[in-house]
Symmetry: C2
Subunit: 201 residues, 2 copies
């Protein structure tokens, strides 16, 4: 007995989804090479063997593609969690930094976009502003769950949260520029020892 | 008795220097708006009322102008110090962060360039790599002079130096995206309290 043929629409849907992912990955590569403003839909289309017209069938505009890039990156980072709903644990944050140390391509794409996002009317500007707000709030919750209203160092969770976020972003730039000069996971652990000398070996 | 007329060359030299500075400031503005790759010499020339040909008289290429932008920014930060020769003190680092909180334009230019610098073959790439190496080394010297081979938190100066640099860079992105949501000098002082709970009020 063979499985019944799946209706065309579904097959197209699954194929379409795979194709969309392939396009988003190609867009990440082009952004890592040239930044978002320097990226062209033509360059993305060429990487996946589509015409620019064919690409627009999947993503009607360059901004739509940018949103898809940022969304995919968030999904990779958060695993099963939904950002803004369930804060990560400290151990999960360490896990993200360790994973990042093995995926310079996506770290490069994200860092380039973060830099560009502070320029005028950049389409990623609102994304980063909202994301920072959520991530600072989540980190404060994470820190409070672990250590209560005062960290061993005397800081409040609200004081430490923007520092935790700044360390993750800031280390990435140093590491991208000199991978052999900066051990990103070790540096992040050193920062956690500042927060609590006892907690992390 | 009147002063003898100064030779043309000298007057041109002084005027030329003022003009060069005016051009560099215009370039900073254009980079803050569009990034370096998105910046055109035509846009810079227009801001200072020069033709593009006239601008090339002062800066023969876009890269020359970029170098001048980065150099001027370093001069503003370092005051009388020469980066790589005399490390700043902790108090001077606090002073830089406080000054930055009142000059978002140059912070924006620098942050945009830092982001772009991780993309392929970016002309600011070597500058940032070398600068980070120097600044980490300088910061380790600063920390050792102040606290010796072990900070009160137990970290070595070499462990804390990249964190200090990462905090300064990382906070700038959060602050640029939401100035009312992040108090950059207060956050930097909170980080210093992590290093030494006694040292900073």
């Amino acid at each position: 007995m063979t499985n019944p043929p799946r209706p065309n629409g579904v097959r197209h849907g699954a194929r379409g989804q795979a194709r969309r992912e392939e396009i988003v990955r190609a867009a990440m590569e082009v952004i890592a090479e040239r930044g978002y403003r320097g990226a062209s839909l033509a360059a993305v289309a060429e990487k996946v063997g589509l015409t620019q017209q064919g690409l627009l069938h999947y993503f009607p505009s360059k901004e739509d593609l940018l949103i898809a890039v940022l969304t995919m990156r968030d999904e990779w980072d958060s695993g099963e969690r939904v950002i803004g709903e369930e804060p990560m644990t400290i151990a999960q944050a360490v896990g993200v930094v360790e994973a990042n140390a093995h995926r310079s391509a996506i770290v490069r794409t994200f860092s380039a976009l973060l830099g560009e996002s502070v320029t005028e009317d950049h389409p990623a500007g609102p994304y980063f502003r909202d994301r920072y707000r959520l991530v600072r709030r989540d980190m404060a919750i994470t820190l409070r769950r672990r250590w209560g209203d005062r960290l061993p160092s005397g800081l409040t969770p609200e004081e430490a949260a923007p520092l935790l976020v700044a360390i993750m972003d800031g280390l990435q730039f140093q590491w991208l520029h000199e991978p052999e000069g900066v051990d990103m996971p070790a540096s992040f652990r050193a920062f956690l020892r500042l927060i609590d000398p006892e907690a992390i070996a």
